[in-house]
């Protein structure tokens, strides 16, 4: 029981730290409004589920799942895969930008030789 309470305490502190980080990033404009809203909700919900574990079972039942832990596991896997995919697309787009800069530099150097 003590372990659970200690875990809850640490998780709440971590969630608070995460929310503060999100708002700092929003302030220095490295995170948009939508992103800040999503991550704030995410950490608030996570903290809520940790403080009140039975709440996951109530939500899970509405989705036709037996246990709250299953709901968290399934949704986590889905979210992680989606984020991985998005990250992959972003890396690929970044690669194309690097290629464009490399190409422009190569062409510019050649045209400068002629001048």
């Amino acid at each position: 029981m003590k372990t659970i309470i200690l875990f809850q305490l640490f998780f709440i502190l971590f969630a608070l730290f995460a929310i503060v980080s999100v708002h700092k990033r929003k302030k220095d404009q490295s995170l948009g409004t939508k992103g800040a809203f999503f991550w704030t909700c995410f950490w608030l919900c996570s903290a809520l589920f940790v403080i009140w574990p039975e709440s996951t079972s109530i939500v899970a039942e509405k989705f036709g799942l037996g246990r709250g832990a299953d709901l968290i596991l399934y949704s986590s896997v889905a979210i992680i895969f989606f984020m991985l995919f998005r990250m992959h697309i972003k890396i690929e787009a970044l690669n194309r930008t690097i290629t464009k800069v490399t190409r422009d530099t190569a062409l510019q150097k050649e045209s400068q030789k002629k001048v």
Binding site: E92, A93, R96, I98, T99, A106
Partner: protein, 220 residues
């Protein structure tokens, strides 16, 4: 003007002879030195080529598109894609160009499977080719080419204006037929000889091509 675009990465041993042999068949040789660590750029320049250097290695597709951009700037009438490792025979260039002009097509694809001059490794011929043709190329490109991953191609000015390669790696070889189809360009195939100095791409490279083609569909 007939331009040859030769992508090259660490090809100092062969690029000089490739460039010199090309000058008998084209007006200008453009070597795209794709971040080579050796003397590829110096050797190509000494052989008389115009050298465009990528400061970092970006892949064959990226190098070809750099050559395209240069050819567009210089109003090229025809652009030849030719590998820098000397695996193609320059004797195929003139008949291929004549065939392209005769057929009034926009793009010519070289094929090592249309005659028996190329000594193709059996695994490539009997296993890799059917898989690539029916699982990758047809679904992704919409064209039925006998050898879409052949680096020998000739593009007319019209094709050059339509085809902008976005795939930096080897997936460009599937992207070009795809763009040929989507831009409504006419195409012909022509038999070319391929000499194998090394095995070429590994079979696992095919998975990267599929991944690149898939991810590429989601990028604007």
């Amino acid at each position: 003007m007939f331009f040859a675009v030769v992508p090259a990465h660490n090809e100092e041993k062969r690029i000089g002879s490739v460039v010199r042999s090309l000058f008998n068949h084209v007006d200008k040789v453009v070597v795209v030195n794709d971040g080579s660590k050796d003397n590829t750029a110096i050797v190509a320049k000494e052989a008389g080529a115009t050298v465009l250097s990528h400061v970092v290695n970006r892949g064959q597709g990226a190098a070809l598109e750099t050559g395209h951009a240069f050819a567009r700037q210089h109003d090229a009438d025809y652009v030849l894609h030719f590998d820098g490792d000397g695996q193609f025979d320059v004797c195929d260039i003139a008949p291929a160009l004549a065939h392209l002009k005769k057929q009034k097509a926009d793009i010519l694809f070289g094929s090592r499977y249309l005659d028996n001059r190329s000594k193709i490794p059996w695994f490539k011929r009997c296993v890799v080719r059917p898989i690539a043709k029916y699982i990758v190329d047809r679904p992704f490109t919409g064209l039925s080419l006998s050898d879409s991953h052949n680096g020998f191609r000739i593009l007319t000015k019209h094709a050059l204006s339509c085809i902008h390669i976005t795939q930096d790696g080897m997936a460009h070889a599937s992207e070009i037929p795809y763009l040929t189809k989507t831009c409504g360009l006419s195409y012909v195939e022509f038999p070319v000889k391929v000499v194998y100095y090394e095995y070429g791409q590994s079979s696992l490279a095919g998975f990267k091509i599929i991944k690149d083609l898939f991810v590429g569909r989601f990028i604007r």
